[in-house]
Each structure stands twice: as structure tokens, then as C-alpha cells.
Amino acid sequence: MTTITPYRSPVQDGPDGFPQLLHAEWTKFRTVRGWVIGMIVAVLVTAGLGLFLVAASANVSCGASSSGGGSGPVRHGAAACGPPPLLQGPAGEPVTDSFYFVRRPLAGNGGSITVRVTSLTGLPPGPMQPGLMPWSRAGILIKQDLSQGSAYAAMMVTGGNGVRMQWNYTGDTSGLSGAVSAASPRWLRLTRDGDTITGYDSTDGAHWTQVGAVHLAGLPSAVQAGLFATSPQYIAISTSFGSGNVNNNQTVATAVFDHVRRSGAWPASTWTGGDIGPATEGIQGFPQGYHQAAGRFTVTGSGDIAPAIPGPGNGNEGHEPIGFFLAGAVAGLIAVIVVATMFMTAEYRRGLIRTTLAVSPVRGRVLAAKAIVIGSAAFVTGLAAAVGTVIVATEEAHASGYSLWPVPWPAELRLIAGTAALAAVAAVLTLAVATMVRRSAAAVMLVIVAIVVPYFLTFTAAVPAVIGEWLLRITPAAAFAVQQSTSRYHQVQAAYMPGLGDGFFPLAPWAGLAVLCGWAALALAGAAYLLRRRDA
């Protein structure tokens, strides 16, 4: 009698949970030299392009002359031959500060000024400009001193936004609505109490409403107070296939004031008029200035008191924010897309997919494990690329005397984290597309056409701005919105364009990333379905 023992493999059963699957996929990724090199290339290309773009943007001759001194950035050299230095507000943010100011010193920690505005008019409307701009402003203003960029608070009437109280360039609250006219005048009042300025408005000069009370830190005891008028540039953007044009035209605003009343200590005996900021030539026939007769003041001014917006379309060429120099991330992204494609298509090309699916028959789990591995690898790649770019670009800017547009640190952090997330989600999208189409060439082309081409078309202004904005709303390229460095301000009319070098996106940063996530989720669902339904 013999008992036959069936053959048993001496190899112990391995664990077959999800962590093991993840580990297997990670081993596949890290042991293919070309893929790891591809990710390293993505980092190097992004940072290298960032470095090159800063170096090329800095004025070459200035960079040479200032590096000789070796004592850090030379502001002199930059100012002499580069773009004009940035004007910064009390919080360090870039601002525009130019208007016509009819003022007197106001001494002591109290005092107030009250006026009635009966009219606000602009240029006669023409083919190249509307008459009055929505953000043409005139009213009363208390300012730290006469230098550009100093702290201020103002009550004003506007061309199309009613009465506003604005302070320190970015602050804005609304008061009475509606346009000003002789029939419906607006009364404005500012009072000072220590560092606090309070603004009021009224329709009749008897019944007052408080619009806002703002705290201007460190306001000296003697300040400048008076009447002002200003009107921003009219920016006409015309783009179509084959042409793109931004026209900036000066405008002026003229306001008529009466019932000017003051309380408190006003040491000077007369009003003084003058430009704040460089004296602009104004517009022919409408010079900046003021006229006083029988208690009536007519003040004409041109300019803007607002946060500045970067970009050549807004007259701020030569000071780009750091997000601009992340443009090389597109090249890095192409490398990530190629690696993510091959991470899946190599399985089909080599027949490895059959082994993979035999080992882990629940196909959805294979896809999930692959997505997690490639997503994480791409996230780390994107993070390294963004951090590297920010570091080398900032260093190069210091070394060559190029003054970057200041970006607050939360925005800088979002740029870096957002670029990493963009790479991760794009890699997952690519993996899903590659699972569906199985062929490398088709997968790479599809994803590049979906992500890179819309970005390319809008950024090089190859398509009209309207089409470009829609492309950056609905295509996966919307995710590049995470690279927008600066904010829009509703109180500034500017060329907030995706192309022409301004770098604004139609969607908010995280909303743009959400669009890409939506595409990736759709593609993953399709990939999971097809992977389960088709033979490998």
C-alpha cells in the first residue's frame, strides 16, 4: 500500500492584500531605469527652464554691470537700465498711486472734512473710449504724506460703482449706490480720530450713514487731506485668429465739489493743487488741475489709486511674479505623461498584463494600485520641480538684479503644492487613458492634446482670447490655474488675460484643478470598466 501525497510547492503562500499589490507596482516602477530617469528629467527641465527664463528676462547689460560689485542686488543699476522699479504700498504689495490732489495739511489727531459732489464727468465718448470709466473716482482723501504708495483712506463717488470708501489700495466697501448728478448730489465726510479714519455718506448733508471705519497703522499727527480726482486707463483688448492687440488709453475724470467744510486744526491758509506721482501730460484739452470760484471746486485728474496688476498688457512689463517662471512645468509635464503612459502600455506590449492579472484577478484593484503608485511618483516629481524652480529662479533674480513681482507666501505655497498636484492628477489621467487605448502613441498624443495644447494655444495667443478662456475652463488644461500668482481685484480694470504674458486664468486655482480631477475621474471610471470587460 502506498499513499500518494499530492505535490505541494515548497514555496510559502505570500500575502495577497492590497499593500502587496502596491508594493509589486512600486517595484515595477522603480526598477525600470528609463522611467526613473524620465521623472528626473521632468524636474531638471522644469527648473532649468525656470532658471533660463529669469536669466533671459533680466536685462543682459544690467546683469553684467551689477554682478561686478558683488554686494547683492544693485537697485541703482536695475533702475537705470531696466524697467522702472515697482511702487509698493504700506503692506509691501505693488500699487498704482497717481491722481490730482487739492490738499492742505491737517494737524493733530482729530479733525474732519465734508464736501458735496454734484457732478462727475469723463471725456466725451469716442470710438476708442467710453466717456466715464466705471472706476473713475473723485472725492475726499486723507493721506499719510505726498509720496506715492503711502497710507490713505478716501470717500469717493465713482463712474459706475456708487459711493465707495477705499483705503490702503486694496480695501474697498460700498456706500450709496447710483450715479451722482446735480439733481442727486452725494455728500461725503471723513473724520480722523488717532489712527482711525471713519467715512460717512449722505444724500442731503443732514442724515449721515457710516460707510466704514479703518485703522491706518502709524499715521503721523500731521497728514494731508483734501479733494482728489482720478480716472484709470481704458484697456481695449482685441484678439482674433492671427492678431492680438491691447490698447491702453488715458482717461480723465472731472468732478465738481461745493460745501467744503473742515473742522480741526488746518494750519495752512490756502489749498494747494498738484499731481501725486509723475506729472502726466494728461489729455489734450483736458489738463489735470483744479479751479476754485465762489466755494466751488472743479478738479480734473487722471491715473489710479489701486493695487497694481502684472503683465505687459497692464504696463507692468519686466516684473513678473514667480508663477511665470514655472512655465517650464509644461515640459516637465510632458515627461511625466510619457512615463505614466509607459507604466501601463509596457504591460500590454510585453504581455506582462496577463501575469499581473493572473496574480491579482480583481482588475479594479490593479488599476487602483497603479494609479496610486504613478500618482505619488508624479506628485514627488512635481513637488521637486516646483520647489527647485522657485529656489533657482529666486536666486537668479537676486544675482542678476531682476526684481520679481512680490507674491505673498500663501500664494507661493499654493503654486508649489498646486504644481505637484497638477502633475499627480495628470499622471493618473494619463494612466487611465493608456489603459483604455493600450497604445503608447495614441495615449501620449491624446493627453498632450488635452492638457498641453490648450495651454499652448492660449499662452501664445494663437487663438482669440474668448476661445482661449473657454479652453482654460473646460479642458484639463484648466488645472494650470494653480500657477496664477496674483489676484484679480474687482476695483481694477486690467487686462486679466491668460495669454499675452499676463498669466491670469478664468477659473480660481483650486477650481481649475478640480476640472482636471473631474476628467481624471471620468477616465478612471472608463478605464476600470474596459479593463474588466475586455480580454487582456
Binding site: 528676462s57 485668429f241 492671427g242 512655465a327 503608447s440 501620449v444 499662452f459
Partner: protein
């Protein structure tokens, strides 16, 4: 009875036979026809959309506008050219090819001639149709002689140059892609590399605020320089003259082919 093929005869006729073999491989692939048709359709569709959406603006270059689709069609030409060689690597066919035709530069030359020739033919059809669309649609959009715009015509020197140059441009892009694909072998890497080359220079030029560098980038980029051939308005303001620009692209294509040829010659398949 003698064998029909002797070694001596075959080496004599290496070029026509290589060409014939490559032509058979390319002709019998279903994807070749689809890609060529796709290139024509995409080019004409994008050109037609561009002219149909055009608005009268000063200094608008009508020839360039009517040939906008070339920028989209080039992507399909890239795929076609890349697949010509990388398909052989992905299936292992390249080893059979090189056993049958051991003269490796001849193989690459045959592939280049065929890929270039096919794209040239498809490009000619696409460009003619695009110019025709421009000619028919633009007057309806206000671009009439009465408004100071000349009708698009191939009898007009600069327009003819822009049209012929665009056909050559597409063929050169195909050759550039073939060279890079021969060097890197994998289709995904090749397409990624070529598209990065095509798109990166214009993006970098749009970001750099130094005009000196902007101009340099536009002079050396394969697409930015090559598309100078389409300029008919303000030709003097272009970074390069039209033919110089196409010459820069030709240098890129020749450089890529030489690189691909060297890799093919000195590396095991």
C-alpha cells in the same frame, strides 16, 4: 538552374528594393491611410474655423490666417512619422528589417523618403483646400479689395510662397519626428520629445520679457522659425526671412536624422 537572386545583384539594387519593402510595410498598415486623411481633415477644419471667425483688424496676414490649420495638422504628421519606425521597435519587426536589409542608413533614408513624400502629398491637398477655404470665406467676412485686402491667390508671389512653404514645413516636421523616433525608439518618448520641441520655444518666447531673447528663441525654435514661411504682411519685422526660417527647421530635421542614423548604425536593434 540558377537561383533568381544572387548576392551581387541584390546589393546593386539595394535602394529600390529597400524603398519598395518600406513602401509595402507602410502601405499595408491601416493606420497610415487614416492618419493621412486625419492630417488633411484636421488642417482644413482648423483653417476653415480660423477664417470663419476672423474679424477685420489692421495688419492682418490673410495667408497666415488661412493656413492656421497647419499648426494642428502637424501633430498628426508627427504621429505618422514616429510610428513609421517605432512600430518596428515595439513589435520586434526591426530585427527582421535589418536582417533583410543590413545597410542601416539606407533603411532610414527609405523611411525618410516615404514618410516625407506621403506628408508632402497630404500636405499639398490640405494646404490647397485651406487656401481655397480662405479665398471663398474671407470676402464674406469683410476682407474685400474694397476694404484694402487683396484676394488670396496662388498667382500672387508671397501667397504662393506661404502655401508651398507650408507643405514643405509639414514634410520637414515629419522628418524631424522620424529622426528623433529613430534615436529614442519608443513611440511615447518620441512623441513627447517632438511635441516638447514644437511647443516649448513659443511658450518660452511668450514668457520671456526681454525682447532680445524673445527674438532669439523665435529664431531657433523649429516651429517659430519654420512658420515664418507663412508670413506675407510685415515680413521685415519677422525674426528671420521666410526662407531662412524654413532653413532653420530644415537644419533641425537634418540634425535629427543624422542623430537617428548614428544611433541606428552604432546601437544594437
Amino acid at each position: 538552374m540558377s537561383l533568381p537572386l544572387s548576392a551581387g545583384r541584390r546589393s546593386h539594387r539595394a535602394w529600390p528594393e529597400t524603398l519598395h519593402a518600406e513602401w509595402t510595410k507602410l502601405r499595408t498598415l491601416a493606420s497610415t491611410g487614416w492618419l493621412l486623411a486625419g492630417a488633411v481633415a484636421l488642417t482644413v477644419a482648423v483653417s476653415t474655423m480660423a477664417v470663419a471667425a476672423a474679424a477685420v483688424a489692421p495688419g492682418l496676414d490673410l495667408a497666415k490666417l488661412s493656413l492656421t490649420g497647419v499648426q494642428a495638422g502637424q501633430a498628426v504628421a508627427v504621429i505618422l512619422a514616429v510610428l513609421t519606425i517605432s512600430n518596428e521597435y515595439s513589435t520586434g519587426m526591426i530585427r527582421v528589417t535589418l536582417t533583410a536589409m543590413p545597410r542601416r542608413p539606407t533603411v532610414l533614408a527609405a523611411k525618410a523618403a516615404l514618410a516625407g513624400g506621403l506628408v508632402l502629398a497630404a500636405g499639398a491637398v490640405a494646404v490647397l483646400a485651406s487656401v481655397l477655404a480662405g479665398r471663398l470665406i474671407l470676402p464674406g467676412r469683410g476682407f474685400t479689395p474694397a476694404n484694402g485686402y487683396q484676394l488670396l491667390s496662388l498667382g500672387n508671389g508671397p501667397d504662393l510662397r506661404a502655401a508651398c512653404g507650408s507643405v514643405l514645413y509639414l514634410a520637414l516636421i515629419a522628418l524631424l519626428s522620424l529622426g528623433i523616433a529613430t534615436a529614442v525608439r519608443d513611440s511615447a518618448v518620441a512623441i513627447g520629445t517632438v511635441l516638447a520641441l514644437l511647443y516649448l520655444f513659443p511658450i518660452a518666447a511668450a514668457v520671456v520679457s526681454n525682447h532680445h531673447w524673445q527674438r532669439h528663441l523665435e529664431q531657433i525654435g523649429p516651429t517659430t522659425a519654420g512658420l515664418d514661411i507663412q508670413g506675407t504682411v510685415g515680413v521685415h519685422a519677422l525674426p528671420l526671412t521666410p526662407w531662412q526660417g524654413l532653413g532653420v527647421l530644415a537644419l533641425w530635421a537634418v540634425g535629427a536624422l543624422i542623430l537617428g542614423g548614428l544611433v541606428l548604425r552604432f546601437r544594437d536593434a
